[in-house]
Symmetry: C2
Amino acid sequence: MAIYSHILLAVDFTPATDTVVQQAIELSQTFKARISLVHVVEFVQMDLSNDLVLPQELEIDQDLMNLATQRLQKLARKLDLDESACFVTQGSTRREILHLAEEHGVDLIVIGSHGREGIQRLLGSTANAVLHGAPCDVLAVRIKDE
Amino acid sequence: MAIYSHILLAVDFTPATDTVVQQAIELSQTFKARISLVHVVEFVQMDLSNDLVLPQELEIDQDLMNLATQRLQKLARKLDLDESACFVTQGSTRREILHLAEEHGVDLIVIGSHGREGIQRLLGSTANAVLHGAPCDVLAVRIKDE
């Protein structure tokens, strides 16, 4: 039995995304695992306790979602993946990734990780956050900082 | 080219070690990668600013090192690995693992990770610490908490 059968690749569209995508694709080929892509649009800050939510803010959110969906689908086509393997969600990156992993029986989450130290270490990273509470294995792909 | 050629498996001898070892072994077989084992004996607290360092403390450290070496070599034999693939070091777990990884051209560190949340999340974990500053990819193998 292959070790992993469903890989969830977290894509953030930074210049380093290619490294992480490449690694995830090679792994999926090695394990003959299916692969899903996820991009999370972080919330635009809104004060929901306030009655006044500006329509522009909602539009910005929707625009960001549409843009992310287009970019993810473009990446999926390039990787010869079906559009149904693309997930664009909105909210907390960590929570959305873990939720998707649980919901879709993912057994490996692949995510980029900067090898940062010092203050950036204290601030934490997405890879770090995803590690906590993950229902499955997590592969942090080292991104070489320029 | 295989994605990974040298896996460093961090062993802590907790009951969950088996899960992590199993995953690392299967990965090493898949990638035809060599595998090294590391166990870090955390420092026994000593006040080095004080002239008085009790000989018993040094002996405890040495006893712990010897015990760990025996256990790691036993594991290596079970896994059909050479004893030269065993590293027992003393100090900060994170620093020692990262140092070994760098020194021996490791391209994947495999380490167990508890999916803990809440206070234990805040306290951090070894997997989390290793992620920071790692010179290579890190696979956190999810350990099912009892």
